[in-house]
Amino acid sequence: MGDEKDMLYRTAGQFKTSYEADQALFPVRQDAILLAVILACAWVIFPLVASEFVFQTLLIPILIYSLAALGLNILTGFAGQLSLGTAAFMGVGAYACYKMITIMPWMNPIVAILLSGVFSAGIGVAFGIPSLRIKGFYLAIATLAAQFFLVWLFEKWAWLYNYNASGAIQVPNLEMFGVYIAGPQASSIVQYFVVLFIVSLLTLVCINLTRGTLGRTWKATRDMDIAAELIGINLMKSKLTAFAVSSYIVGVAGALFVFMWRGAAEPNLFDIPLSFRILFIAIIGGLGSIMGNYLGAILIVGLPVVLNLVPNALGIPIGSATVEHLNIMIVGSLIVFFLIVEPHGLAQLWRLIREKLIIWPFPH
C-alpha cells in the first residue's frame, strides 16, 4: 500500500459528521484545493505572465464563451429545453447595455452590464412561453424564430443603435475609479479582471442555484416533465425560471462580448453561427455540468488559435484562407469525434479521471 503522498486524491478518512458538512460546496478537500489552484492561476498567475495576444485571443474570449455556454447549459442541460437562439439573446444583452450606457452615461459600467441581463431575461421569458406547449425539436425550431426575428430587429430598429449611419454599435470609453474599463483606451488586463470578476460571480450563483430547490425542479423537469408535474412541480414556473436565469446569464455574456472584447458589433455578429458555437461548447463540455462549459470553451476557442500557429511553426506555406477552411473542417470532425467517443462531454472525462485518481494505485 502506498502512503498518503502517493494517493493524490484520496477521499477516504474525510468523514462528515453533520448535514451541513455533507451539503457543503466542496465536501471533498482535494476538490477545494484544485479549485483554489485554478482560481490562483486565473486571478494572479495569468495576469502576470499573459501577453496582449493571449489576453485578446484566449483568456478573455474563453471566459466570455464559457459564461454564454453556462447560460445555455442552465436551459438545455439542467432544464432540458433545447435552444438555438442563444446568440440573439446575447445580442439583446449587448444592445440593452449600449442603450443604457448612451442614455445614462454616468452609470457604473459593471452595474450596466449586470443590469443588461435583466432585459434579455424578459425577452427570454417571452420566447420561453411556447415551451409550455411545445417540446423537443419543435421547441428548438421555435427558438430559431427568436434568433431570426431579433437579429432582423437589431438591423431595422434604428433607435437601438442610436441612428448610426453604419448600423453598428461602437463601445465608448467607459471609466470606473479613474481607469478605462471599456472602449478603445481600455487595457486588456483591466478588461480581463472585469470579465473574470463577473464570470466568477455568476458561476458561484449558478453552482448554488443548481444545487438548490430550483435546480432540482429543473432537473426533474428535464428528466420527465409529466412525472415532475405529477409529484407537484409547477412546470410553468420551472420552465420559465430556467428561461429567465439562462437568458439573464446569456445576456450578460453578450454585453461582455461586445463591451469587453469586440469593442463594436453589427447585427450579423449575433447570427446563427454564434448560437451553434455556444451550443458546441455546452455539448462538448458536457450538458448538465458547470465545469464542462469551461473545458468546452477552452477547446473550441483554443483549437483554432493552435491550428493557426501550427503551419507557421512548421514552416508550411498555406494561405490564411485555406487555414481557416481547414479549421472549420477540423472543428467539424472533432465535434463528431467527441460525440462518438464521449457523448457526455469533457466533464464526464474529468469525472472518470477523478474516480481513477481516488482509487489510485488500485485498479478497482
Partner: protein, 317 residues
Amino acid sequence: MLNDIFIAPFADMIAAPDFLMQVLWEGLVSGVLYALIALGFVLIFRSSRIFNFAQGIMVVFAALTLVGLHSFGIPAWISVALTLGVMFVLAVSIERVVLRPLVGQPDIILFMATIGITLFLIGGGEIIFGGENKVMITEELGIPTGDTVLEPFGGLLILQHLDITVVVVACALVAALLAFLNYTQMGRAIRALGDDHQAALSVGISLQTVWVLVWFIAGIIALVTGIAWGARAGVSFALEVIAYKALPVLMLGGLESITGAIIGGLMIGLLEKLFEIYWGQPLLGGNTETWFAFVLALIVLLFRPQGLFGERIIERV
C-alpha cells in the same frame, strides 16, 4: 395604422390582380423548393429520428460539385451522373463513419453530429471548389431560360421558363418519391422503419441499407434543389440559408409527415411572399422573409404542438 394593416393591403391586391398573381407565382415556386428540401428532412427523420441539419449544406455541396466537375471540361450530363455518385459516396460514408457509432444516442447528440457534418462540408467545399459565387450550368443542362408573358385582366404576368421547369421537375420528383415509398419494397421498408424501429428490424429490414438509401435520396433532392436554386441565384454558400427555411416548413407540417412537408412548403412559400410584399415592405422596412416563416410556424404550433399533420404526441410516465 389599422387601415395600413387590415384594409390597404387587400385593396392593393384587388386593384392589381396581375401583380398579385405574379407574387403568388413566385411564392409558389419557392414553396415547391421548400417542400422538396423538407421532404429530404422528413425521410431522414422518419427512418432514423435524426434531425438532419446538414440538408442545407448538402444542397450547396451538390451544386458546387456539379459546377466544379463541369469546369474541368466534363460534359454536363456526365457531371450530373458523377455528382450523384459523389452524393452516394457521401451517404455511405456518413452512415459508416458518423451514424453507425452513434446509434441509440439521444436525439440532441445526433443533431449535433449533423452540425459537425455541416461544418466539415463547408470547410471541404471551400477548399476544393473555392468560396466565390459561381454560375450554374443552366444552358448546358438544357434548362430553358426565356420567359412567357401572359396578360390576365389586362395586366402583365411574367413566367420565367426556368421557374416553370423547376415546378414541373419538383412535382415529378415528389410524385416519383411518393410512388417509390408506396409501391416498392425498399420504399415500404423506409416507411416501416419510420413506424416502428424494433418491428421493422425483427422482420429483417436492414437499418444500414435504409439509412444509406434515405441519405442518398436526400442527396438527390439536394442536387435538384441546388440546380434549381443555383440557376436563379448563383451557386455559393449563401444557398445554405434556404435550408433554414425548410425548418419552419417541417414545424408547420409536422416532423413525420410527408403530406405535411409538401403542404407546409407551399403554404410558407406563398404566405411569406404575400406578407413581404403587402405588409413587410410598406410597414416594417422589408426583409421580413428571414423570420416570417418561423413566427408563422410558432403561432401554428401554439395551437397544434405536433404541427398540422404530425403524429399526435402521446406521453406516458
